[in-house]
Symmetry: C2
Subunit: 680 residues, 2 copies
Amino acid sequence: MLALSLALCAPSKAGPSLALMPLPAQVSIGEGKLIIDDSFSIRISGYSDRHLQDATARLASRIARQTGIPPRRAGKPTLVVECRGAAPEYPALSEDESYRLEISPISARVSAPTVTGALRGMETFSQLIAADADSFFVPTLRIDDRPRFTWRGLMLDAARHWMPVPVIERNLDAMAAVKLNVFHWHLSDDQGFRVESRLFPKLQQLGSDGNFYTQSDVRRVIAYARDRGIRVVPEFDMPGHTTSWLVGYPELASAPGRYEIERKWGIFEPVLDPTREEVYKFLDAFLGEMAGLFPDAYFHLGGDEVLDTQWKQSRTIQAFAAKKGFQTSAELHAYFNRRIQALLAKHGKKMIGWDEVLAPGLAADVLIQSWRGQKSLADAARQGHRGILSYGYYLDHMQPASFHYQIDPVSGETAALSAQETALVLGGEACMWSEYVTEETLPSRIWPRLAAIAERFWSPRETTDIHSMYTRLDAVNRWLQWTGVQNRSGYSLLSERVAPGDRAPALWVLVNAVEALGIDQRQEARHYTSLIPLNRLADAASPESESVRHLEEVVAGLSADPGQRQQRVEELRRAFTEWSRSSEQLRSLLSVRFLLLEASSVSEDLSRIGNIGLRALQYLESGEKISGDWLAQQEHDLDRMAQPRAEVVLAAVRPVHALLDALSRPPSHAEPVGNSPISH
Amino acid sequence: MLALSLALCAPSKAGPSLALMPLPAQVSIGEGKLIIDDSFSIRISGYSDRHLQDATARLASRIARQTGIPPRRAGKPTLVVECRGAAPEYPALSEDESYRLEISPISARVSAPTVTGALRGMETFSQLIAADADSFFVPTLRIDDRPRFTWRGLMLDAARHWMPVPVIERNLDAMAAVKLNVFHWHLSDDQGFRVESRLFPKLQQLGSDGNFYTQSDVRRVIAYARDRGIRVVPEFDMPGHTTSWLVGYPELASAPGRYEIERKWGIFEPVLDPTREEVYKFLDAFLGEMAGLFPDAYFHLGGDEVLDTQWKQSRTIQAFAAKKGFQTSAELHAYFNRRIQALLAKHGKKMIGWDEVLAPGLAADVLIQSWRGQKSLADAARQGHRGILSYGYYLDHMQPASFHYQIDPVSGETAALSAQETALVLGGEACMWSEYVTEETLPSRIWPRLAAIAERFWSPRETTDIHSMYTRLDAVNRWLQWTGVQNRSGYSLLSERVAPGDRAPALWVLVNAVEALGIDQRQEARHYTSLIPLNRLADAASPESESVRHLEEVVAGLSADPGQRQQRVEELRRAFTEWSRSSEQLRSLLSVRFLLLEASSVSEDLSRIGNIGLRALQYLESGEKISGDWLAQQEHDLDRMAQPRAEVVLAAVRPVHALLDALSRPPSHAEPVGNSPISH
């Protein structure tokens, strides 16, 4: 094999690009390819166990889905999987996840110290499968790979909207595909308590609307995750975010009363009473039960957003605080955390908390999850705490992938840490809070952006080229469906409800031209509660429009290579024409207008944007002098249309704005003189 | 409620049409509608058990999928489900499946004698949900419903291509949705033995390539089916179709030798030895084990297509036959069947066999499944056997829904039976043999056509209007996706493999313009084996093109209502234009040409058909005199293009042919003089 070492971190627009995400630590690309046809088979060589056998069977099924070629059990193996030993019974922190993948035109081999590394290598193999004119194939190459961070997670909020087990499982498959290794399961909040407790059954009976995981469900998810090399870390948020506990056990609260499951979103007053021993007795028993159910060494107690209203209103709580000499509610909260940490330690668990739990006197082995910034992570490390970063990785904020991609767990305040302190930064977790996400829309909110975050956690620090990331992200997004995750779920459901059986191309055009807004803007748009359906345009739209981003690149490229200019103009014209026509075509669907209530004006504006774009292309092509008045008017109109409405933003404005900018710019400014393909 | 009785069996093109399939026995439609919004909830009134509770929870989830409205557990119930008693532990023959569904503008009620009827009624409710400008709703009405036949089944061959449990489960959901009640599971054949036997483990270990149902899988499927009111009838085909048994147990064969899993399709020589007591001892133990696993009272021993080559070649078998006084191999086969029937009876089961088992001396309680025609069913009934019809319901023959719909279990020879004999005709089963079907393409081969067959089995005999059937079938096909069955699976996989992430509209146009051929034509097209991928155009195409059928209706309607003529012409023009342009657009996808190998010439022809259609529309509109030469040439071309290729047929030929026919017909023949909107 010809070994061409690839400078993977450098901008390599021309170089050979592998549609891999996360990028491996080291890749050498060879010449030729290994064909995948109906003789393809997989064999385990050397160490073997049920875990590995199941994994190879899953890979065979995946490849069968990707290609339509039935898995074969016999014959000369195309892919050999070889490892030297077992994975731990359950995935654990700081495991060796390294592997080597070698592909020649004759066969391929994944080798790894343990089964866990082999899992990672098999995922890489599966991502490499492509098709050309003649066959499916994988390129010949050699990869040596290992993760940068040992903690690479996703937090999923199953409390605010219920997430059934199959949805979790499909998501675990996709997580494994991008080499994530921690599933942080947010299991209780004001709006729901989601796990069966046998000791305290009123938790789920009264706190879940019937939507909870049985203990058998939990074991199933843990086994499913383990088979994919993913740890499961449970979170029971306390002492705040506990309204749902109090429906069945009001005696745990800091204020007397009858409690009901919270239906609204926000931060609420109900909070556990940190002063009564009965509360700790309850939590001791409850945490003991849950410690037995969840095998991971870590256990998350939440600890965020604690309102002290109930504490301040309670004479007995204030008396307790005074007696302990606490000056602030924060000290009372810290006391509660220390008590919980001791209970968790008794049950063999290490505690994790959101960064609010960081306070003097906290046991050193408590792990801090920072949602508020690198500063609290740095503070934690300086105090000897291990930590993970979630700030900047909030998927529910609906930021583009590039935003998350540019945030590094070791950056800003954490970049100033000593080497020893930096070693305490174990990695990060993306967070998927579910106020505005249902089981239906979840996949499209997590994917593909989580793949970019997964690359941040796995790949070498220098892997920062956004153009390369997006090129590969588009490919991985297409490929992800073979894992079974329904990453384009949002659109198809709206489409089927509005126009059953029709492919509704105009709706597709509209949905692709807008971007859904995040939690901040949605909570201002309507009085949302957990009972309001999420079945509208905003729910069908993606956080980031792949097609609009592509058009932005086309506009940016107009002046780059004169040879491709005409092709780019044609591509823009096609898109603008589609936009221009879409509103008329969409009108017939408004017969189901209660689902498309707010879409109508957005749709009319999209057609206007298309028309502006088409006119701009005319200027571009004719060389006609552009009218300053016309330009000013269009820019004014575009600015108006760029305002959020219907809980979406018209992303289509961006490439047209960029086109007008290019038109109005003096050529000398736009590009080197003599190289400008744009005529003014 | 205003009770307007509906003449459901009469052609009712104008009347109110409910998108229900199967049509209920009696319907009265009222005025107004019951709105389904976020206050929707379901309550059980009266008798309740886990079975019913699970069913209402499933209905709530289904409705949540259909509408996006989260299920609600409390509040004033919108739908009350009321039954008087439990279903049997497992669904059984001749159960009362009747129910009543009443919907007023305020609430709805399903009432039934048992939980089984309530299941059927809830399916009807779910099918009725529609959307208009303002909301989701169900129409007000009253339905009194019960099935015509008690045996309404689907036979699925899981032996020739492996069908994983989730595929079976999704299919059971869709079966329940159209009120089928028997899942006949063909579990062994020459190409595979698919069930775990603990007594004879080499059956699955050596006979399945590792693809078999564990006993726990079997129990899971049976429980899943039971929850949906569906019986599970296992079939172990014998003495022929048994090659896969003989790989592990060659001593059962009629000829010595080493046997291997059969990879080809057809009828093969290996056959069990009907003369040795060791064989019956084996089958006694095996059938005992399986009788314990499958709770249904019926058990299918297959019995079809027995080749007697091995019998004729064996001196000992011939000696045995001579000693018994058998003149023919058929008598030896009948002897085997009698022995098996006795074993099944010993294990508490009634035997079913394909109609070859019908022979003198067969126990009266053996049920005959006729795949060869109504005659054998009538013969069986005259001999006192119960029977079911499968002739005419072979889904792998890829006939249109209308073909199957017109075949009645009581027709032809069975129509001549006495009332008492007719009562022995219990119903029918559609058959899905899997030579040319994989788990991927299965749903699109079964659905929606099985819904039309389900109507034949459930609805009153007089329900025979094909136009009404197709109108409702289209709606039900769109609706079926909410059950989770992937009834449009074929296309999306080809599309994703050929053009990942692209919606590939030109491919969609092509796939919709062709129809896949059935087993007879496919087996002649290539040397198929079980290892050849089914991932081509023929696998993506449907058995019956919904869009082409629609265009045929448009052509037929051209002369019907002059007011709508222009609209119809425009609709044809749009379709013909799409066809005309599609081949050029499709060329870019031919970069993955190994998957679209044979599609290229089909695609070029589709464009030609589009052009012929466009030219014909010009003649139609201009009133220009049509050239006889031109017409003859086009018809000649169309006939050529109508020939099967690439294992598909270009259905698009049909509406264009019909259009040319209409053009060439003298007006007086085409329609009443003075009413002709077509100018010649």
